[in-house]
């Protein structure tokens, strides 16, 4: 996953010489106690989850001694914040905060910019979007020239940062930019950047996400799935990622949408081409069907890659149908898809008598692909309803979603489930 936890981000900042609080990560209350003993002063115990508003949710608490640290860690570990289970806490020295700043680097894709933008604010500790614009200084980085130390100094000067702390804040901004560039971040921020009562500048909290396409350059980060998502990867996501990892022939993207399927009405969804695949989901939703997963195989993947994708999609328990949503007149030769899907259906459908499929495949080599699909599934049709459509139905999203719905209803009837 391209997103990093606070404790991971802080380690990267440390290597870029940005001061971080003394502390370590713990997975058990006992570990938390030991870390607090080592620190030897009051500590903060911070839940490690990908969610904002941890403080409000009770995910950040303080402890005056190791015994208290153990107790607080016990409370926080295992709690849920915005549906995310806390599995680790960061135990850190408690800081005496005098002032809070914000530093962030984002990439601006707009026409006039297309470059990293470094932002600095004297109003840290809150959501940067709620800070008035006169309290934010920013500079667009010319990537061919690089970001210089005096760019960072100028950001501080613009907002009248006191001369005493100005050099160390500029160093921290520089360190964040170096981390951003060195680790190919998509976004990175330190918020708050803390000025302590004794005048030290320390990264209080940080958020970082690594660019998916750059993850391969950083095996040391141990990122399991190089895909951005709001939640950590499920086992299913990890299996799906193995299909894509290391195979650059076409794209295979699969994401689990409903890890805990509740009730009926889920189908395995296999889209082709992002734009078109999204259309199919809209139509299925209108028919009261939900997708158990989102998927897309496009950019001319090999039959082997398509087969693996279809196999993973079809292997999901509790789905009531499979849709190949090729809502595009594709330029890629579609026989690779036909071969891959047929192989997966031949292996998976015998395990599920009555399980229905709706297949739409259009584009280059469509005639040949239709033959492959029809021949390859002819004998399966005795047990499983499989409807196959071509480019005359490419925009018939409603029709195809209705067919899927009708077949799902029949499948329920066969299983004695009331619709």
């Amino acid at each position: 996953m391209a997103r990093l936890y606070e404790y991971q981000g802080k380690q990267l900042l440390k290597t870029a010489k940005v001061p971080i609080p003394q502390g370590e990560v713990a997975a058990t209350p006992q570990e938390a106690r030991k870390i607090a003993e080592k620190i030897g002063k009051p500590v903060a115990i911070k839940s490690q989850v990908w969610a904002g508003g941890r403080g409000k949710a009770g995910g950040i608490k303080f402890a005056n001694n190791p015994e208290e640290a153990e107790k607080v860690a016990k409370d926080i570990l295992g709690m849920e914040i915005k549906n995310l289970k806390v599995e680790k806490v960061l135990v850190e020295e408690k800081l005496d905060v005098d002032k809070e700043y914000y530093v962030g680097v984002i990439i601006d894709a707009s026409r006039e910019v297309k470059a990293p933008v470094v932002m600095f604010s004297t109003e840290g500790g809150m959501d940067i979007e709620s800070v008035p614009s006169d309290k934010i200084a920013q500079v667009t980085v010319d990537v061919l020239r690089g970001f210089r130390l005096y760019d960072a100094l100028n950001l501080c000067v613009k907002l009248k940062v006191s001369t005493k702390v100005l050099p160390s804040i500029a160093q921290a901004i520089m360190g964040l930019y170096q981390t951003f560039k060195g680790y190919n971040c998509r976004t990175s921020e330190i918020n708050p950047l803390i000025q302590t009562k004794d005048g030290r500048i320390i990264a209080g909290d940080c958020r970082m996400a690594i660019d998916d396409s750059s993850v391969f350059r950083h095996p040391e980060l141990g990122i399991e799935v190089a895909r951005e998502a709001p939640t950590p990867p499920t086992e299913f996501d990890k299996i799906a990622w193995w299909i894509e990892e290391g195979d650059l022939r076409g794209t295979c993207y699969i994401a689990q949408m409903a890890p805990d399927k509740k009730g009926l009405g889920y189908v395995g969804y296999h889209g082709i081409g992002g734009g078109g695949a999204i259309l199919g989901v809209d139509a299925l939703n209108r028919q009261g069907l939900k997708i158990a997963n989102y998927a897309d195989t496009s950019g001319n993947p090999t039959a082997a890659k398509v087969y693996r994708a279809a196999k993973v999609i079809l292997s999901q328990p509790d789905i009531e149908g499979y849709m190949l949503g090729g809502f595009i007149v594709a330029n890629q030769e579609q026989w690779h898809h036909a071969h891959g899907v047929v192989k997966a259906l031949r292996e998976e459908l015998p395990k599920r008598p009555g399980f229905p499929c709706v297949i739409l495949l259009c584009g280059n080599k469509e005639k040949e692909s239709m033959e492959i699909l029809k021949e390859g599934t002819a004998d399966l049709q005795k047990q499983n309803p499989i409807e196959i459509y071509g480019s005359d139905k490419v925009y018939e999203t409603e029709f195809l979603a209705k067919r899927m719905r009708a077949l799902v209803d029949e499948y329920r009837k066969k299983r004695g489930i009331k619709a």
Binding site: S213, G275, I278
Partner: protein, 298 residues
């Protein structure tokens, strides 16, 4: 007439000996494109579909003279090197049908391209085609498929979805119309040319009477297109569809650029900004072609 790729545009294929490179070089040449050379280091002296292969761009330019455009069939991690090489070889239009390109590499190559005064399409663009004239990339796929789907006519098409850049022209053709030039802008988080760069080119092209855009959630591109219309950089009829209204916030789809970030770039935002600029926004993609017909009075 067409834009960016025309009858006399000379084309170089970087990575011509690979799986996609060799297949699409054959397609481009078979479709009538002037493919003058290919490059693969270590394979100089060979031929692919009758196209001479060179070791470097410099060597190709020395042998063939200045080249107008390059198509880069190289893996994502190697794209930056290929683009720098093409730019240093004096090539001013580069089509990049390459996905999974490291983001910082993209920023550097776009900045260098800008410095060199070049136009870059992609990364992640499947290509550009001017029907019956020429193609660069793999939009069109094979000559017979390209001939069947892309018929010449008055509509310029720009798409953020690779697949839809074939589907929209196909629907336009089914409705009895045709297309002037079709482009896929690409799928990566930061792109070279986008709607607002391409619309002014269609404005100047006399054969283009209207433009259709297949948009998507995420990114600033649809809002920028609306801005181009407001600034009168484009004054011909424009029909836009924006896909992905159902997407949950923070979800990322295979089109790497389709990210809904910080409340911007949602389908709702885009549609509002386009409508305010007077653009014809359709609710479903199958309404694109009928709307074009109505606006063109045919």
């Amino acid at each position: 007439m067409a834009i960016l790729i025309e009858k006399n545009t000379t084309v170089l294929v970087q990575g011509i000996t690979g799986r996609e490179g060799s297949a699409r070089a054959a397609f481009m040449k078979g479709y009538g494109t002037k493919v003058v050379a290919g490059v693969t280091p270590g394979r100089g002296g060979e031929e692919v579909s009758g196209i001479p292969v060179f070791n470097t761009v410099e060597e190709a330019v020395k042998a063939k003279g200045p080249i107008d455009a390059s198509v880069t069939f190289v893996p994502g991690p190697g794209l930056k090197e290929a683009v720098y090489e093409a730019l240093d070889g004096g090539i001013k239009f580069i089509v990049m049908p390459v996905e999974r390109v490291p983001l910082y590499d993209i920023l550097e190559m776009l900045a260098y391209g800008k410095q060199k005064g070049a136009k870059l399409l992609g990364p992640g663009s499947i290509g550009i085609i001017s029907p019956g004239v020429a193609a660069a990339g793999w939009l069109g796929g094979t000559p017979e498929f390209a001939k069947r789907v892309f018929v010449p006519g008055p509509v310029g098409v720009i798409s953020r979805s690779g697949g839809q850049s074939g589907t929209v022209p196909w629907a336009i053709q089914q409705a009895g119309l045709g297309v002037s030039t079709v482009l896929h802008v690409g799928t990566e988080p930061v792109l070279g040319m986008s709607f607002s760069d391409i619309l002014p080119l269609f404005e100047k092209d006399q054969d283009t009477k209207a433009v259709a855009i297949f948009g998507e959630i995420g990114g600033p591109y649809e809002e920028e297109a609306a801005e181009a219309v407001r600034k009168k950089e484009f004054t011909k009829p424009l029909v836009v569809y924006v896909a992905g209204a159902w997407a949950p916030e923070g979800m990322r789809f295979s089109h790497a650029s389709s990210i809904i970030e910080r409340g911007k770039g949602s389908a709702k935002d885009k549609i509002k900004s386009l409508k305010e600029a007077g653009v014809h926004v359709v609710d479903r993609p199958d309404e694109i072609a009928p709307t074009l017909k109505r606006l063109l009075g045919v």
